[in-house]
């Protein structure tokens, strides 16, 4: 199970251990954490929710996409859901490859794709209220009401 949604705190080492192997010369680990200040607004805590069975499928799809681009890469992703406090870990992505450059690139690819196609939502609880975050990339993700063909069919 390299792709997981977890209600419990994520153990980073467990995610890394899934991708370590004898052919790997590099393992990159991305750790996404809960930030307190966003553009001068203070977050108290946040809630993540997921459409879990589909989220796991889409994480697996990201793993397949990485395999196509970087055939030697091994990927593991765990995303947490529920209530997270400031500095808590929301997501851990570990990628191993024979050489470091691919591991960096593939890991970056994984987090960007999570923000496009994986059905997970974040509700920010600010000092002065709460909002579902539509898009933390601050771009418009689906101008046509859905991801572009290439985004989801790759």
């Amino acid at each position: 199970m390299n792709y997981n949604i977890s209600k419990e705190p994520i153990v980073i080492q467990e995610v890394i251990d899934k991708v370590v192997n004898r052919n790997a010369g590099a393992v990159t680990t991305f750790i996404g954490t809960v930030r307190e200040m966003t553009k001068g607004k203070k977050t108290l805590f946040l809630i993540y929710e997921a459409y879990e069975p589909m989220a796991i499928k889409k994480l697996e799809q990201i793993g397949s996409e990485i395999k196509e681009r970087w055939p030697d890469a091994e990927t593991a992703i765990t995303h947490r859901v529920g209530k997270l406090e400031i500095t808590d870990i929301a997501v851990v992505i570990a990628v191993s490859t024979p050489h470091r450059n691919d591991a960096y690139e593939a890991n970056r690819y994984a987090i960007e794709r999570i923000k496009e196609i994986v059905p997970i939502w974040k509700k920010e609880h600010w000092e002065d209220g709460d909002t579902w975050v539509g898009n933390q990339l601050e771009t418009v993700p689906y101008p046509s009401g859905k991801p572009e063909k290439g985004d989801i069919d790759d």
Partner: protein
């Protein structure tokens, strides 16, 4: 019957996360239209739709037993 799943702001707006709707033979677009009329549900313009856990277009035709999820812009990571 079609099983409809709502998430994030859509769930909050309607106050429930699942619905059962008579929609055999409807397209996704028609189902969205029905939800707008029956529940005054706003914000369906900007959602993606998944049918049986795969992203689907507005012209996808629905059958009894399908699970349709309306997926607001995602914000994982």
């Amino acid at each position: 019957m079609i099983n409809v799943l709502l998430f994030a702001q859509l769930k909050d707006e309607l106050g429930k996360e699942t619905l059962s709707i008579e929609g055999n033979g409807m397209s996704v677009a028609e189902l969205k239209g029905k939800m707008r009329v029956d529940f005054q549900l706003e914000g369906l313009e900007t959602v993606m739709t998944a049918v049986n856990e795969e992203f689907a277009d507005d012209d996808t035709i629905l059958s009894d037993g399908d699970t349709v999820a309306f997926i607001p812009p995602v914000s994982g990571g």
